[in-house]
Symmetry: D2
C-alpha cells in the first residue's frame, strides 16, 4: 500500500466511487478505502432509477436542479465509463409513469406537471403505452428523462474507471480513525496507516462513528429498503411504474425490481415477510398482472437518512480539508455524479452554486437555529 495520497475517500459505495472517478480525472492521486467490497451494501440494493423529477416533489427549488444536473451527467457517463472500464452501466431509456389513482394523487403531481419535461397522460393513454397498468389509474405524469441504470454495475464502472485513471481502490480496509498530523491526515485502517492531504467521508449510513470522531454533531439514521427482483415470462413493461413511493422498474437485464419498503431505524439487511407482502400489494395496485410475476431474489439496503431529507455534501465546518458526502437517502445512484463533481470542485476550489453549498452543508441545522 502506497503510504501517501492526495485524497483519501472513505467508503466505496456509489458515492465514494463516483468521487474517486472525478478526482482521478483531475489527476488527483486518490485512494478509496472500503470496509468490505465495493458497492456491496446499500448500493447493491438500489433500484437504479434516475428519478430527478419523480423524487423532487416538495423540493423543486434546490434538489431538482442538483438532481437534474446529475441525471444529465449520466447521458455522457454511460459511454465514458464503459470506455474506461469495460463495464457497462446498464443505462435504460423508457422513463417513469407516475400514476394517480385519486384526485389527491393528481394534486400531488401538480408541481411536477409544470416542468416542461413532464406530461400528463389520461388513463387511456397510459394503457395505450403500458397495457398492463391498472385501469383504476386516473392517469399519470409521464417523465421520459427519468431513466434507469444498474446500480452495482454503475458503481463498479466508476471504481474501475477511477483505477484506469490512476486511483487505488482498497477493499476490506475498514477505517478506524483519522488523525491530524503536521497539516496532513493519518488514516488508520485494519491493514495499516496511510497519509492524505484531503479526506472524504462517504460511508453512507455507517458514517455516524466517523462523524462522532470528527466532532460533527449530525447523525444519519437508517431507513431500510426491501425490494423484490422478479421475472416475467414475456415482455411486460417498457416504462417504470411509480406510485406512492413504490415502483416497478424494468431493467435491461430482463428482470424487474419491485421496491421499496421504508423501515425506519432497522439496521438489518434481511427481508421480512411483511415487507414482501407490502410490496406485492403495491405492485398489484399498479399492475394487476404482477400477481403472476415469479420471484428471482430479494435485496435490502440501508438508506442513509438525514434530519431534513437532503444529503450532507461539503466541508467540515472547522477543517476544509475534510469533506463529507453522505446522507443521500433514496437518491444515491441519481446524485452520485453531481456529488462527485461538487467534491472535486471543493478540493480544486472551483465555483460551486452557493445555494447548493448552503442546502447541503453539514452544519446547516445549527446555522438555521442560531
Amino acid at each position: 500500500m502506497n503510504k501517501q495520497y492526495e485524497a483519501a475517500v472513505i467508503g466505496g459505495g456509489i458515492i465514494g466511487s463516483a468521487i474517486a472517478y472525478y478526482l482521478a480525472k483531475e489527476k488527483i492521486d486518490t485512494a478509496v478505502f472500503d470496509g468490505g467490497r465495493i458497492g456491496e451494501k446499500t448500493t447493491s440494493a438500489a433500484a437504479g432509477m434516475l428519478g430527478a423529477h419523480s423524487e423532487s416533489i416538495g423540493d423543486f427549488s434546490v434538489f431538482f436542479p442538483f438532481a437534474r444536473t446529475s441525471q444529465r451527467a449520466y447521458a455522457a457517463l454511460k459511454d465514458e465509463l464503459y470506455e474506461q472500464s469495460g463495464v457497462d452501466i446498464g443505462y435504460k431509456k423508457g422513463g417513469i409513469l407516475k400514476l394517480a389513482y385519486t384526485e389527491e394523487d393528481q394534486k400531488n403531481l401538480e408541481p411536477l406537471l409544470v416542468q416542461p419535461t413532464v406530461q400528463w397522460l389520461e388513463s387511456e393513454d397510459v394503457i395505450y403505452m403500458e397495457k398492463e397498468v391498472s385501469p383504476d389509474a386516473l392517469g399519470a405524469a409521464y417523465i421520459p428523462d427519468d431513466v434507469s441504470v444498474l446500480p452495482n454495475r454503475t458503481c463498479e464502472s466508476f471504481a474501475k474507471s477511477a483505477q484506469a485513471l490512476g486511483a487505488s481502490i482498497f477493499e476490506n480496509h475498514p477505517v478506524y480513525s483519522i488523525e491530524k498530523q503536521a497539516g496532513n491526515y493519518i488514516i488508520h485502517t485494519a491493514q495499516g496507516d496511510v497519509e492524505a492531504k484531503y479526506v472524504v467521508v462517504a460511508t453512507g449510513v455507517l458514517s455516524n462513528s466517523l462523524f462522532k470522531h470528527l466532532v460533527l454533531s449530525e447523525r444519519l439514521s437508517p431507513v431500510k429498503g426491501e425490494s423484490l427482483i422478479v421475472r416475467a415470462d414475456k415482455p411486460l413493461l417498457k416504462h417504470t411504474l411509480f406510485h406512492d413511493s413504490c415502483y416497478i422498474v424494468p431493467r435491461n437485464n430482463g428482470t424487474l425490481v419491485i421496491g421499496a419498503t421504508m423501515v425506519e431505524n432497522d439496521w438489518s439487511d434481511t427481508v421480512s415477510l411483511e415487507g414482501i407482502q407490502f410490496l406485492i400489494e403495491k405492485a398489484k395496485t399498479m399492475m394487476p398482472a404482477a400477481a403472476q410475476l415469479t420471484i428471482d431474489r430479494v435485496i435490502a439496503g440501508l438508506r442513509p437518512g438525514t434530519f431534513d431529507g437532503r444529503p450532507f455534501i461539503g466541508r467540515h465546518p472547522e477543517d476544509k480539508h475534510i469533506l463529507v458526502a453522505c446522507g443521500h437517502y433514496r437518491n444515491g445512484i441519481l446524485l452520485a455524479p453531481a456529488t462527485g463533481q461538487m467534491i472535486r470542485d471543493f478540493i480544486l476550489e472551483k465555483d460551486i452554486p452557493s445555494e447548493w453549498i448552503e442546502a447541503f452543508r453539514v452544519d446547516r441545522r445549527q446555522l438555521v437555529m442560531a
Copy 2:
C-alpha cells in the same frame, strides 16, 4: 456402464432412491436412471413432514396404516442410512399441532382424535407449548409421531446407501423407451442401452410419457407446490403448525418451511408473487409473529396427482416384471420406505397386504368401473 441389471429403476427422486435401497439390501443388482440429478426436482421442494396422521384425513382405512408403517420405518432408517452413507437425514422430533379455528375445523379433526396417538389440546395448552401460536386458535390436535426429515438429504442418503450396498446410480440418463426382448427389457437412454429383468417406473409427475409408452391408461397431473424457506432471529417453534393444508415446519438446520400452495396443472417450477402472498397470509393466521420472519429462499415442485389421490404402486396389469411406483402427491417423503418395501416384495414375490395391492394398483379405476 454395466450392460445388465436385475432391476432398473427409472427415476431417482425419493421414491426411486428408496426402492433402490430396499432392493440393494436384498442383493438384487439394481441400477437407477435419472434424467438429471438425484432428488433435484419434486423431492427437493418437499417440506419433509412425515404426516402419517395429519395427511390421512378421509382415508384412515387404507392410507393410514400404509403411511404409519412407512413413518415407523424412518425411526430405524435414520441410523441405518447414516451408517451406510454418512449422510444424515435430519430427523427432527416435535410432532405436529393441527390447529382448529372454527367448529368446522374441530369437526374435521374428529377422525384423527380417535387415534390413540393423537391428543386434543385446548387453546391455552397449545399456547403453553408454542407461545407464538395465534390466540384465535380454539385448540389443536397434537400428533407427536408426525415428525419430519430433510427431503433432499433423505433422498441422497437412500441413494448413497444403495450404492454402498452395490447399486449403481446413473445421473443425467434420461430414459427414452423400454423394449421387451427375449423376456428381458432393453432400456434406451441418452447414453446408451441397458438390459434388465425388472423395470420400475418411479418418475413422479413425469411418468406420463412412459405410461403412454407402456400402454397404461392413467395419467398423472401436476399440482405445483410453492414454499418459503425462512429464518427467525431467535428460537421460535419446536412443533410443526398445520392448518388448512398449510404448515410451518421448524427444521433441524435452523430454517423453517412455510408451505405449500396447490396450483393445479401448472408445469412450471417458479414461485409466483400470488403464491408467496397466499403463504404469508396462511403463516400469519397460524402465528402472527410470522410477519417478522425473514426470507432465505423459495422452492417449488410438482406433486404427482392421481385421479383419486392415492399413489400407483404395483405391477403392470399385463406384465408383472414391470412395476409402477408414482403418484405420491403430497406424501412422497412419508411413503418412500413403505413403497420401497412393497416394490421389493413384489419382486421377491413375498406377501403384501391385499388391501394395499388393491388400493394402489394402477388399473383400479377400470376395475371399479368394470
Copy 3:
C-alpha cells in the same frame, strides 16, 4: 395453449430462440417448446465469443462465410433486439488476440492471417495492447471483429423479441413425440398436444431421441465444456485472449470467463476438480496474473457434437416440413442468427447458398458414402 401454429420450434436455447425471432419477423405464427426454461442449459454455459475468424481454422471455405454472415448480423441485432425486448445482449467490442507461443502455433495461424480482417502483432505490440499477456508469447493474430455477447441475455432477448412480434414461448413443455396427421404434425407434449405445419428440431445435444423418432440416422454426442467465471480487482483485459482452444473473455458486466474444457461423452453438467485445474493452468499460460483472479462461480454445458464438426441445418431428407437445426458444437451463439435466417428461408422457400445447404444437410454423410 392455442392448438394450432404455423411453425413449432422444439427447443428454446439460443438456436431455437433465434429461429423463432426470424420466423416471427415474417409474421409466421410460431410456438417454441422447451422442456425446461429458455436458455438454461448449453446456452447459459457458453462464453459468448462471436469467433467467426478464430473458430474457422481448417474450414475457411464454408464455415467462415456462414459464421461471418452471422457475426455481422449481430451488429444490427444488438439494437434491434433491445428495442423489441428491452433486454440488452451485452455486445462487447475489443476482439480477440489469438496467441502464438511456438512456431507451430504461428504456422497454425497462417490461414487466419491471410484474411484482411486479421493482423499479426509482434510480442511487444501484444503487450502494449494488453500488458498482462505472458511475455512468452511470440505474438498474436489480432481479430478486432471477433467481439462477444452475453449468451443467456442474448437468448432471452431473442425469445422476448419473438414474443413481442407474436410468437408463443412454452417453457416446461417437454416434447415426447411428433406424429404426422393429414399433412400437419401433432406434437405431443407433457402438457397436451398442438398442431403445426412446420416442425423445427432445435434441441441441441438432446436431439438424439427426436432424431431416432424421426428416422434420422445421425446422432449428436456431447462434448462437455466447463468454464470459470472470475473477477479481477482492477481493470485487466480489454481483449479476449485465445490459445489452444482456451480463452479468457472480458465481459461487459465486469466478469471474465475462462473456458473451456472438452470432455467427450460426458452427459453431466457438473464441474470437476481436474477440469478446474486444467483451466487455471491454461489461463496462467496466457496471462500469469490469472493466478490472482478470484472465482465467482463455475458453469458447464454440453456442446452438441457432430461427426464432422459442422452443424445440421436443413430439411429432413424425407419430409421438407420437418427442419433440423442442431449440432452447433462450440459455436451456437455465433451461428444463431445465420441459422435462424437459413431456417426462415427454407420455410419461405427463398434462395439459400447451395454450398451451405450441402455442407449442413443432415444426410451429408450418407451422400458422401453413397
Copy 4:
C-alpha cells in the same frame, strides 16, 4: 434494546456464541453484539474438524489438554444444544487419518503416536479403511476421537441455545467504543449505547481496533484460509484425510471440504485461482480420485493469528472486568466450548488451571520479555 446487561460479549462468531451459551447457563444476563450476522465470517469458512490431536503437534503440554477438554465437551453438547435450540450441530464420527508419505512425515507423527488415543496404521490397513487413499502413503496415524461438526450450524445452535436460556443476540450492531463509567462499561454501538458489568472481546481477527482502544499492545494478524466444498457421485470417504496442514473432511450433509490455504496478511475473503490450484493438488496427493470430485462452492475466512499461535483468553491486565477471547487461529470451532467455560469461570471467579491462564493471557509476551 434493554439498556443494562451483566455481560456484553462483542462478536457473535463461534467463540462469542459459545461464551454466551455458557454464561446464559449460569443465569448471567448476557448480550452478544455482532457487526453483521451471527457466524457469517470466519466461522462459516471453517471445516469443523475437532482436531484436538491432529492440531496439537508441537504443543502437547498445554494446547492438547485444553483442546481435548473442549473436544470432549462436544460429545455432550451435541444433544444439549439440539434440545435447547432445535438446531443440530452435524456431529460426525469417523475420525482422522493423518497420512505419512515420507520418513520425515512419520517422524513428525511420533509425538502423536505416543497418545493412547492414536494408532499407527500401515499402508494396507489405511487402504482397507479407505480404499481411495493414495497408495503412496506409507501409513497413517489414526485418531478416532478427532470427529467433526458443521461450523455455522454449531454457532447458530450455541446462539439460539443461549437465547433460549435468556441471552440477547444483537445482529448488525457494530461496536465503536467502550467507555468506563462509574464502575460499569458503556458500549457504544451503531444502534445506541448499552451498559454492562463485564465486557468480553470475541471479535476474532477484527479485534485489533478494540485492542488498541483498550490499550492492549498485541495485535492479531489474518491468515486467510480458502476451501472447496465438493461432492462425490458415490460414497467415498468415512474418515477425514489429513496431510501437511491440508485435509479432506466428509460431512454429514453429503459434501466434502477440501481445505485450507494459509495466506498471510490478506484481509480479503475471496478465493483465488492459485488457492484453488493448490488445494486440488493437495487433495489429489491424498486421494487421486479427488480429480473427479465436482465443485459445489468455495469459502474463505480470516483465521485470527497471534504471535505464538496460541489464543488470547483471559482478563485485561489492568481491568479484570474486561475479558478477551480471540486469536484461535485454525482452531476456533474446536476450542469454543473450553473457551466459553474458561471465560465463565473468570467471571464467576472459579478455579482455572493455572497453566491455561498463563499460556493464554494476553500480556504473556511482555511477561516473558520482562
